[in-house]
Symmetry: C2
Subunit: 469 residues, 2 copies
Amino acid sequence: MKNFSEWFHNILEEAELMDARYPIKGMSVWLPRGFQIRKYALNALQELLDKDHEEVLFPMLIPQSELAKEAIHVKGFEEEVYWVTKGGKRDLNEHLALRPTSETSIYPMFSLWVRSHMDLPIKVYQTVNTFRYETKHTRPLIRVREITTFNETHTAHATEEEAEKEVMEGIEIYKTFFDELGIPYSISKRPEWDKFPGSKYTMAFDMIMPDGKTLQIATVHNLGTTFAHTFDIQFENEDGTHDYVHQVCYGLSDRVIASLIAAHGDEKGLSLPPVVAPEQVIIIPIIFKENQDVVLNFTDNLEKLLKNNGIRVKQDKRELRPGKKYYEWEKRGVPLRIEVGPRDIENNTIVINRRDTGNKEFVDYDENTVVDVVKDRLDSITHDMKEASNKFQEEKTFAIEKPEQIKKTINKKGGIITCSWCGETDCGKDMEEKFDIDVLGTQESDLENKTCINCGKDASYKVLISKTY
Amino acid sequence: MKNFSEWFHNILEEAELMDARYPIKGMSVWLPRGFQIRKYALNALQELLDKDHEEVLFPMLIPQSELAKEAIHVKGFEEEVYWVTKGGKRDLNEHLALRPTSETSIYPMFSLWVRSHMDLPIKVYQTVNTFRYETKHTRPLIRVREITTFNETHTAHATEEEAEKEVMEGIEIYKTFFDELGIPYSISKRPEWDKFPGSKYTMAFDMIMPDGKTLQIATVHNLGTTFAHTFDIQFENEDGTHDYVHQVCYGLSDRVIASLIAAHGDEKGLSLPPVVAPEQVIIIPIIFKENQDVVLNFTDNLEKLLKNNGIRVKQDKRELRPGKKYYEWEKRGVPLRIEVGPRDIENNTIVINRRDTGNKEFVDYDENTVVDVVKDRLDSITHDMKEASNKFQEEKTFAIEKPEQIKKTINKKGGIITCSWCGETDCGKDMEEKFDIDVLGTQESDLENKTCINCGKDASYKVLISKTY
């Protein structure tokens, strides 16, 4: 696509996902089709979380005194917090923050819940709306003032080791989730100056968008004992001594839907992986007056057969030209289209079209095998969509050794550049300014005999850099 | 129960449903068990709504100018609205309301969506958090400042007849839903002075709580064309003329969970209808050291068998006295308990205990029939719990003919009084003051030769009165 920004703006409207005309900047309405996609995506995520975490729901407002307790944390958010100052016509004694994120609403309760080592670990998650007073240019799903879908996990552990294990578990959950949705990602450890305020370190998932810039799509934070000290979350060991808990939190947001749209969409519109598609199959009966009954009898049976076997299927019987229907359902991203006309019924075939590849296939029709055929094609679509989007991310990731190549590569090809780096904050910030890029983070790598691409000192990390959203 | 208020307060903590210690008055935390019950209840409701409505999600904040547009409406809410006045350190140009209810956030968008009669009807719903700055005494789930679970349906129609049909549909959906949960109700048309601000009329569901006062648990509003005029929601007819849409909205909240708890709970704790129970069956193996393997082998099989057949089952293998386990799971409201000890296995029986009746039954064990037996008992529980709670509501509803009986009956027995009424607002308000009760609303009835219990004029309605929450 030539202009991703314009394409993205249009597709939200054309595929009936969101309405951005709500009368507050940066806040949009989820339309029924968008809401369905959001629901199926959340279901896939929650299924993974539910194996080892419990769902809870905390209040949306946070007292100013609680938010203010963790100084580094509040500093990271204070410019962006919405404040409730009035109830009815009265001024409130204490101002209340619309949660920008929920650490300071959840951890005072953890402090009440944790008494002994028997109470640990606590592993909970919630899906809530959060708020940021964005002063930058907003864009639906990507940079918003109400994050309508913030899925956040918060855990507390007796030991550092267990917290480290939880970090790995969070990363694995997100990898599995993004793989299911065919969303590509690069994982790195954010640099010191870009970690979550108050955390020990932050692991982040970044996706390369079609315009070459990266979008942060998920983060996993090891909080160490910072918040435990701030909110006094202590437990008693078996031997009667007391310790502070080690905490982890991780989250993702509406941006998952943006990355889903961006990873798979094309000039024809949306293209959805079967797992999140409101309709996985659309059946188009090709109807002429003289044989209407024969065709509809056939397609009604087919629809029923697929539905009874757990496939989300819809039939479009409207009196419109087939071409017009194809156009509409392609725009909406339905993974598989089945066309059936009178001649197909005579020949005992159906025509199966894939949205992702545009591939058209004539399949012999057999009531006993058609469900398996459709399921097989849906599986292939899931597999191929993931491969295709991963390939894009790989092809847009460039290993660079010379500093003069950085700006050239980024400006010409976009994507992520990997190179060697000393790991010093001063050098990293210098790089960001000099090359007009952002340091995404570091990965472990064999760096023997390698030097920092910027300052020439011994290299300590493989670093990922890019232009970012 | 002697003191319902105290019992209700304790059960939230003891059955691990909510934590009311959150540091803002009137806002509580949903704990994992409470959240599960809420989820299953919502699932049951949404299944009914999804047949004929689409789910959407609107922003939480409403610009002051939109909220102010419908004067009667805003008058009904202005004392209770929380206002966001600051973003970061800046004062906002326009104050933003935390939605007290969503008419004024949704209908400006309806105005954009509706162009022609082809766009109608619109039938959408959402489940969101809403806010009321309550100055009265708050109580979790019943009178709160954050309604964490507000399920609201909003529809727009071309004709008054269709709107009337939607009112009936809303009432039917709620009847079915409450019946599934075994929540009893009386339906009446709220008097003029207590209808939804801006509506034509309000139909309401009230449940008699164990303390004899009624709790409003759902409302259905025919909005007529009031909001359509305010927000300019017009459509073009086939003949080119324009009309305003007719609107309906209906909603229910967290109070459903309060009524669920109150309708079925007893001195032992919570008692849950199977449809919302996190565990429908709890299996307690009675273990002695010498035959531990035999018993656990048996109960593991039983657990797997029930689970594979879609029953939510859990086994409690903890090393505790059985009596302690019974006590705990009864408090948590699990509908069915199965005990299996070494002697039971010898006799080829299992012991099935019902939480609702306390009934204990020895059942011959057969792998081929045990699933059906358990499902049958769960169905009986669902049926009997509904019967029992309906009976309570019926027995607490008293037809009264003489005014002097009103105060006596209410003060002695609580519940709902039905009597004849003229229908005049002045007379109704006079009654409320004189008898220290609330007029719930009216029902259709044969009133030939009946006179108003208060003023003696000809009666127009059967009226329901009670003390209310």
